[in-house]
Symmetry: C2
Subunit: 180 residues, 2 copies
DNA sequence: GCACCCATGTAACCAGTTACATGATTTG
DNA sequence: CAAATCATGTAACTGGTTACATGGGTGC
């Protein structure tokens, strides 16, 4: 029963605590979004499929007249999630337009390379800032989730520093003195 | 005339030199693949579309009885490419299964977190190695392409070091002494 | 002669986003 | 009472990969 990409994050989230589809979506948006997104169009059909194959089970828990289905892992679901965790990671895709621009930038001259480096710098500085902002709000929920957050921050900070350094040397090379 | 994602890499490649669809595909596979992939199923239809809207033009240059269409940028294509380079980067997507595993790893206990860190480390060490291998083969073709390569290497090296550091502290925390 | 590379192209499929429909509840 | 939020769900679309079909050229 080949699990697809979205089911990984669903199983993972339900491994933390029972959740509704809505909960999963909003939690993903506040946590894994930067390296693993999911939309309603994926989540709801996938929840049904996972329930059909017995990896999760849903119980209706309406809040007043507002319907709500809370899902949790079954024993088989816990096993599947554990097995996935133990298996070597496969997927590592990225589409990085800022890096593509750097790659091609000398088509428009050395100033374009510097501009592309600065644009990338700014982009990652903004992400690092957003990641820092979500840090304190969740008080230590689970260790490894915070570890992933720390990774995101460290990693974006690294890119900011790298871009600054390279822009500096590129600026120096193209004759313009560095700071003033 | 909204350009799609694949057309960016096509325009960029043709900005370096005239190429066939086959050339583009194999060059992408040896260069931008890690941060911007493209498949034949995207490239060939897109070449036709770009030619239809006048951003590129193709000339048939059969090599013996083997057919071959070489494409190059038109003036409009050069303009479009330059405009794109100058615009702020938008797309920055990633799907990182190794980080998702770190995120969820404490579901299976602290040893699982350490294992996930090591798995991520190994993955990026392998990528860094592959990037280093392609470095010298292309002797400085264009500066900014090499800059992007250097970015890939630095960035993967950083992740390797980060994972090692975190695995170390995690190991120390879980009682097992670090090296021996 | 076989395997492999050059070269173009498409059909079938899969994954995923966007935008909408629907409706209850809460909050200002 | 309006707007935001909770909540589920789907249809239409977009983007993309995989796998195949086709055929000539090159090297062993």
């Amino acid at each position: 029963m080949e699990l697809n990409a979205t089911s990984r994050v669903i199983l993972g989230m339900l491994g933390r605590r029972p959740m509704s589809g809505y909960d999963i979506k909003s939690f993903v948006d506040r946590s894994t979004r930067f390296f693993w997104a999911a939309s309603y169009g994926q989540i709801y059909p996938e929840l049904r499929r996972l329930a059909d194959v017995g990896l999760i089970e849903g119980t209706e828990e309406p809040q007043g007249g507002r319907k709500r289905i809370s899902y949790r892992l079954t024993a088989a679901g816990r096993r599947a999630h554990r097995d996935w965790l133990a298996a070597p990671p496969q997927i590592h895709e990225s589409r990085d337009e800022s890096l593509l621009k750097i790659f091609f930038s000398d088509f428009a001259g050395p100033e374009a390379t510097i501009a592309a480096l600065q644009a990338k710098r700014d982009q990652h500085a903004a992400i690092a800032e957003r990641l820092r902002a979500i840090g304190p709000q969740h008080k230590p929920p689970e260790d490894s989730a915070l570890l992933a957050l720390r990774f995101g921050i460290a990693f974006n900070d690294f890119i900011v520093a790298w871009c600054e350094r390279e822009a500096e040397t590129a600026r120096a090379r193209s004759g313009q003195p560095s700071v003033a």
